[in-house]
């Protein structure tokens, strides 16, 4: 006998609040088959309970992650992760099957169906938002230009900008770096656009940047050293730690607390001896000249040799001491003359006669700046170097560092009367002075170039200002490759300009942008305070919304957003720019799933109410 589905035999149950038991016999026109069993399981209450419990557990984990590493992290690894979506889908399947298994639907099923249909609508709305929604912000400056783009923080991008004729060209390389530092070695290729190829080499989620001096691979930059000042008791004076950066050819001096410091490059290794142990006796009136040629050093007393020519080495090279000038000055016709007898700036005019009868090379040597390098004249490098010692040049009260061509650093300390050679200095070496302080060498870079580096810091939920992310990019333009660290979102470490085969290019690392479809301009930002000025009562932005055709004046405040086009703009924060101008931050959201979610809310609440209280009365 065919069992009647529905009909009177079932109404007896519907008057109570008791949930219906699924009588397996009800479905049996045929014997139970595996497919039916699976479907029954998929739509079962037991599965529902299990899924609910698993979801609870997963969500707890999510909040713990949020607390430990921030909401971005929790979203990436839990709430927006593929397995969470799978879990939610399983719930959706369970709900759907539960609804379908109760076909044919009866009046008493209404509450149940409405609630669970609402749940499905909610999930549909969420998926729609997840896929097509835009959640970003707009920063507008009071009195500043109109903004027509939304910054979407979901995705980052590297932008390259350059001038292409009259216009500005730009290409974007978007990518999602994720909420955590990339493990060592992970890189990501972002592809090629317009002959620009970008690869991400490293990513730090929270990075603090600083400018440091690093090794210049070309080896052509001046050296740099980092020193610290140590007081009498051997303790480092806290804030006195700094970089002393040399300059090519001239050298650098710096006053560092009580200390005078200098850093110079020495052109010839053998000159070091003259620096560390300069001749002090027998300087005579006009001093002593050291001459370096190949490996040899000669010291000539000037008193006896003005106007004379001296042979250097064994290949016929000669040095002629042309003039001694106590106070050199430019005379008529470009000649050098001395303005007086007193040795204010003793200088020697020299001529180097090279073997082979070439035109002699004119050279100068100054006693006060003995390392000043005039070795290159008329494009020819003079093989002979000079060091001029003169008694009129006082002993500096300074700690002077010298870097020889072999890259080693040496040092001498002058106390005003004599120099004390310190010899070679290594990293960590301590140079004592008689003035009560010491100088310690912390770092020595042979050929220094200023570089930006970033340090990754750990997430701290109590940060007032969260440090932004930073990434190291390898960019190739044409056949040239450049490496750069950039901080996301601009700021002082956010830009990099470099000359490329395509012209001058600027690189910026930031977030992706989406067009608003209209422009917004901030006319006025107002803030109202509580009585007595304690705390904010309200804040609002008076904006002008500009479309193609017209513009309107609108006001956006907390709890009073502005809807225009497909976006809704909400008053968020009100920071000030670096140069002190008032800015208003508006959240901009496009939520295509919004109405589905509202509908779902109504369905779910209504359905629950019916299920709980109107069963059997409908």
């Amino acid at each position: 006998m065919a069992k009647k589905r529905g009909g009177k035999s079932e109404t007896a149950h519907s008057r109570t609040n008791a949930p219906r038991q699924h009588n397996p016999a009800e479905f049996d026109q045929d014997p139970p088959d595996p497919l039916r069993e699976i479907l029954r399981f998929l739509g079962s209450l037991k599965l529902a309970v299990v899924l609910l419990l698993v979801s609870m557990f997963v969500l707890v984990v999510g909040t713990l992650l949020d607390d430990a590493r921030g909401l971005d992290y929790a979203r990436w690894f839990v709430y927006h992760s593929w397995w969470f979506i799978t879990l939610t889908s399983a719930l959706a399947v369970n709900v759907l099957m539960a609804m379908l298994l109760r076909i044919p639907w009866k009046r008493r099923h209404i509450g149940f169906l409405v609630v669970h249909a609402g749940l499905l609508v909610l999930m549909a709305g969420s998926i729609l938002t997840f896929i097509a929604g835009i959640d970003g912000h707009v920063n507008i400056i009071e009195g500043g230009p109109a903004v027509d783009e939304v910054t979407v923080t979901e995705r980052s991008q590297l932008t390259a900008v350059w001038r292409d004729g009259d216009e500005t060209a730009a290409v974007d390389f978007p990518f999602k770096p994720g909420p955590a530092d990339w493990p060592g070695g992970k890189t990501k290729n972002l592809g090629e656009l317009d002959e620009v190829r970008v690869k991400v080499l490293q990513f730090y989620r929270y990075a603090i940047g600083e400018l440091v001096w690093g090794e210049d691979p070309s080896g052509r930059s001046a050296p740099a050293i980092r020193i610290a000042l140590i007081d009498r008791d051997g303790k480092q004076v806290q804030w006195n730690e700094d970089w002393l950066v040399g300059r090519k050819g001239i050298g650098t001096t710096m006053t560092f607390g009580p200390a005078n410091l200098a850093l110079q490059e020495v052109p010839v290794d053998s000159m070091l001896r003259d620096l560390l142990s300069p001749p002090t006796d027998n300087l005579g009136e006009k001093g002593v000249l050291s001459i370096y040629y190949k490996d040899q050093v000669e010291q000539i007393s000037i008193d006896e040799n003005v106007g004379k020519t001296v042979a250097i080495g064994s290949d016929g090279t000669k040095v002629e001491i042309v003039q001694y000038l106590a106070q050199p000055t430019m005379g008529p016709g470009g000649t050098l003359t001395s303005a007086g007898e007193e040795p204010k700036n003793p200088m020697l005019e020299l001529r180097v006669h090279l073997p082979g009868g070439q035109q002699p090379l004119r050279q100068l040597s100054l006693a006060k700046t003995p390392l000043m390098d005039f070795s290159r004249s008329r494009g020819i490098e003079c093989p002979v170097r000079f060091f001029y010692h003169h008694s009129a040049v006082p002993v500096q009260k300074a700690v002077e560092f010298f870097q020889t061509p072999d890259g080693k650093l040496s040092c001498r300390v002058g106390d005003g009367t004599r120099y004390k050679p310190h010899g070679a200095v290594n990293k960590g070496g301590l140079i004592e002075t008689s003035a009560g302080y010491s100088v310690r060498l912390l770092q020595h870079v042979r050929s220094a170039r200023q570089q930006r580096t970033f340090e990754s810091v750990e997430y701290d939920p109590e940060w007032r200002r969260t440090p932004e992310a930073a990434a190291r990019f390898e960019v190739s333009v044409g056949d040239k490759t450049y490496e750069m660290w950039l901080q996301r979102g601009g700021g002082e470490h956010g830009f990099y300009m470099v000359q490329t085969p395509k012209g001058k290019m600027e690189f910026v690392f930031g977030y992706t942008r989406a067009p608003l479809g209209f422009s917004v301009k901030l006319n006025k930002f107002t803030r109202e305070f509580n009585p007595g000025g304690m705390g904010d009562a309200s804040y609002s932005s008076e904006v002008e919304v500009i479309d193609e055709s017209d513009s309107q004046d609108r006001k956006i405040s907390m709890n009073e957003p502005l809807e225009h086009g497909k976006f809704t703009l909400y008053q968020s924060g009100f920071p000030t720019t670096a140069d002190g101008r008032q800015m208003s931050t508006l959240t901009a959201a496009y939520d295509p799933g919004r109405y589905l979610k509202y509908a779902a809310s109504v369905l779910i609440c209504l359905g629950a109410f019916v299920m709980f209280y109107l069963r059997g009365r409908i």
Binding site: L59, D67, D135, P461, M534, M558, N559, K597, C605
Partner: protein
């Protein structure tokens, strides 16, 4: 003869008024001062409220005995006594001493202490602290004057330094923590500072500046005593008049002449009332007499305090009535008192609504009180529906518990009326969202209460199956109500978030925990429909799931960061809550285990506690 008589009479008459005046008992009328509106803490309030809020931070109470007469002074009287008695309100003579406790020390160094300075006002609770300050064993309070010159023996290096210097040098250790002694010292230093600020008249801001907008500070009593108002600031001359009256009142107070004081006070208060609105940029901003009066009444009535006394009495009555079916009178009395307490809470919340101009659910304290309202309401509804005392009683006990918590821990649940942060200033969404959620929590609290009773029955192996059945039914009803309300409330919250911030759901911790709570209770409701949960299981899980409510409601605010973190620091309170949760879960476990041991499964393969109990 006539002349000497006349002289005698005159002398006699002159001698008379003094004793006659005292005999006529004209006392200092401080009550009218309660109504003076002052500006403090971001809003306008009566002096009465200011006194009640400030004095606990000094004397740890709102009243104190006058040092010379021993007469107890209420909040306003005490405030005025401390304020007006002080002769010198000036800034320190030495301009290098800028504020802080140094100013206090400088004051005492150059002034004679008066009776209040020497009174034992400031409480020192910790014994080790009292010892460190060198106080005698039986003395629990220290006078401000004494405190300004006492030396404290630093427990770490045993050096003695001036307390006022030592306390300013306290700094936290590497973990950012202070020792208990340091915390006590900071608190005491704070009390001294508050004392000084009150007495120098800087705290009481009673006159608006001409054309004052909302953000501008009013003139303080100290300003009133010292400033000279220019014609531009005071074209009508009324401010100067007010100043005159104020100075007279102060002088009269010090000179101990009540009559002069009362006259000057009356004149001052009249001018304030008349001129106050005129001075404001928008006269309507000046607090009206009605509102001030309402707040004073509310302060005096202490409605939420009496509410729990009422519910306590009702609880006792109802619990007793459960023990004997024939004690009907007790039962009815309990229900009636419970109903009265409902009215009291509603009135109290209503008054707060008017005073705040915003629904009374915007801070933790109010949400707790509102939940108490819910539990009373649900208790009455379910109680009447079931007709059972066993349903009224747990609700009543729960309400008492909640109200007691709200009343006795002002440092955690702060009843002070404060201005709202902008994000909370949307009346409709806010009110409905929070109220719905709170009512939901109330329903779930009811389930908690009834559930605990049922668990108690299980624990002792009671054979009252009817009672258990009925209780289970109402636990279930409470769950349904709670879940429905939480569903509605959560969606309202999402709607509000969408409206205010543009996102329906952001996976903020509070949102996620609200969802976790909802899922927990939903799991119970779903499991009830399968063979997995009978009455015992449902009861056990309903009680346990309330922990989730506590996390969402209270504990989550203490995790750092997130949109819902309104910057609370509850000290040890969260640990107590966690402790309570642990105890509750242990009780659940004990009851379930005890019940299982007694009767795991009956002959039909089902435990007696299971499905048969469902209606």
């Amino acid at each position: 003869m006539h002349r000497s008589m006349a002289i005698l009479i005159v002398l006699f008459a002159a001698a008379l008024p003094a004793p006659v005046a005292q005999g006529a008992a004209e006392t200092f009328q401080t009550d009218p001062w309660q109504y003076v509106p002052v500006q403090d803490g971001g809003r306008y309030k009566p002096l009465d409220t200011l006194a009640r809020e400030t004095l606990p931070g000094i004397v740890d109470g709102t009243s104190f005995a006058e040092p010379e007469t021993g007469r107890m002074l209420g909040p306003t009287a005490l405030y005025l006594a401390l304020l007006l008695q002080r002769e010198d309100w000036g800034p320190p003579a030495d301009p290098h001493v800028s504020g802080g406790l140094n100013e206090v020390a400088a004051y005492f160094a150059s002034h004679e202490p008066d009776k209040w300075d020497k009174a034992l006002l400031l409480p020192v609770d910790r014994a080790e602290f009292r010892k460190a300050l060198g106080m005698p064993d039986d003395q629990r309070r220290i006078s401000p004057w004494e405190l300004s010159k006492v030396e404290i023996r630093d427990p770490e290096d045993y050096e003695k330094t001036l307390f006022v210097n030592w306390v300013q040098r306290i700094h936290p250790d590497e973990k950012g923590k202070f020792t208990k002694l340091e915390k006590a010292a900071q608190e005491l230093g704070g009390r001294l500072m508050a004392y000084h600020t009150l007495r120098t008249g800087r705290e009481m801001r009673l006159i608006p500046m001409r054309g004052a907008g909302q953000g501008q500070q009013w003139f303080s009593a100290a300003d009133l005593a010292r400033w000279t108002f220019s014609d531009r600031m005071d074209p009508t001359g009324k401010l100067q008049e007010a100043q005159e009256h104020f100075r007279n009142a102060k002088a009269a107070y010090i000179a101990d002449s009540p009559k002069a004081f009362n006259e000057a006070s009356a004149a001052l208060l009249a001018i304030l009332q008349e001129e106050g609105p005129k001075l404001m940029e928008n006269p309507d901003d000046y607090p009206s007499r009605e509102i001030i009066g309402l707040e004073i009444t509310s302060n005096r009535w202490r409605l939420f305090h009496y509410a729990w006394i009422l519910t306590l009495i009702a609880s006792v009555a109802l619990v007793l009535s459960c023990m004997n079916e024939r004690w009907k009178g007790l039962y009815i009395t309990g229900v009636v008192i419970l109903a009265v307490s409902l009215v009291v809470i509603v009135v109290g919340l209503g008054i707060r609504w008017v005073l705040k101009e915003s629904p009374p659910v915007t801070n933790l304290y109010e949400s707790v009180v509102f939940t108490a309202l819910g539990t009373v309401a649900f208790g009455l509804v379910f109680g009447l529906w079931s007709g059972r005392r066993g349903i009224f009683a747990p609700a009543c006990v729960m309400t008492t518990l909640i109200l007691v918590l709200a009343d006795l821990f002002p440092s955690v649940l702060d009843p002070t009326l404060r201005p709202l942060p902008p994000v909370l200033r949307s009346n409709t969404w806010l009110a409905i969202h929070v109220m719905t959620i709170m009512l939901g929590y109330a329903a779930l609290a009811k389930a908690l209460a009834i559930g605990n009773v049922t668990l108690g029955f299980y624990l002792v192996g009671s054979q009252q199956h009817d009672a258990i059945k009925a209780q289970s039914r109402f636990t279930y009803e409470s769950l349904k109500a709670g879940v429905l309300l939480l569903l509605i409330g959560t969606f309202l919250g999402a709607g509000w978030a969408d409206y205010s911030w543009g996102r329906f759901w952001g996976w903020d911790k509070k949102e996620v925990w609200a969802l976790i709570t909802l899922l927990g209770y939903l799991a119970i409701l779903h499991a009830r429909y399968t063979n997995w949960l009978g009455n015992r299981g449902m009861t056990a899980w309903s009680v346990s799931c309330f922990s989730l409510v506590l996390v969402t409601w209270y504990l989550i605010n203490f995790l750092k960061g997130g949109l819902h973190n309104y910057g609370l620091s509850g000290g040890e309170a969260p640990y107590y809550v966690v402790g309570a949760i642990v105890l509750q879960l242990l009780f659940v476990a004990a009851a379930v285990i005890a019940s299982y041991i007694r009767q795991p499964v009956d002959e039909e393969g089902r435990s007696d506690h299971r499905r048969s109990a469902r209606p």
